[in-house]
């Protein structure tokens, strides 16, 4: 029942911070990357990955057990978290 959560974020984006805060408060482990804080040579690859997953350039891009959610949306996060009775 361990959920795999990854957050693509920008350090400048308040909704990215709120997203991380939500997972912190919910005591759900997650990995994240602040794309704009990466060294120059790694930024493009990380950004491209986020753009490819989300089909746009909006952050945050949250991947929960392989499902992609764009934007700060606790309802959708819950839907996809198995540990919370969501997911499939």
């Amino acid at each position: 029942m361990v959920d795999e959560v990854f957050v693509y974020a920008l350090s400048t984006c308040p909704w990215c911070r709120k997203t991380k805060q939500w997972f912190d408060d919910s005591r759900i482990a997650y990995d994240f990357v602040d794309v704009d804080k990466l060294p120059d040579d790694e930024q493009d690859a990380a950004a491209d990955k986020a753009y490819e997953l989300s089909g746009g350039r909006r952050f945050p891009v949250v991947v929960i057990n392989g499902e992609v959610i764009v934007g700060y949306s606790p309802d959708k996060f819950l839907e996809h978290l198995k540990g919370w009775g969501g997911g499939s």
Binding site: T12, R57, G71
Partner: protein, 108 residues
């Protein structure tokens, strides 16, 4: 120019742009302050007040569509959310910005 002075001038410039479009600065003052501060930093580092919540690609034609206020280029999406993607601007009648959900354009 100091960051605070530039924040004030962006506020003045952008207010004139967003009002005719039916938007205003969010009543969430802390959010507005954080976002304007980020935009001043982006302007210093990258030459324009780019969106703090959207990523650049390096393609000029695309990147110019996420210079703040980017409302004209994302109108239908933002009108559906009643806020811009960052939430810096909300529709004129919005008093409770936290109640406005953030969802991607394919869900409009």
């Amino acid at each position: 120019m100091s960051t605070d002075a530039r924040k004030e001038s962006l506020r003045y410039l952008f207010e004139r742009v967003v009002t005719p479009l039916g938007y205003k600065f969010s009543p969430d003052e802390q959010l507005v302050d954080d976002l304007l501060e980020a935009e001043v930093q982006l302007e210093q580092d990258h030459g324009a007040p780019f969106c703090p919540c959207q990523g650049r690609t390096g393609v000029r034609e695309e990147d110019m569509k996420i210079v703040c206020p980017c409302i004209p280029f994302h109108r239908a999406h933002f009108d559906a959310m009643r806020r811009c993607w960052c939430g810096l601007y909300v529709h004129l009648d919005v008093t409770d910005p936290d109640s406005l959900p953030q969802f991607p354009p394919d869900e409009v």
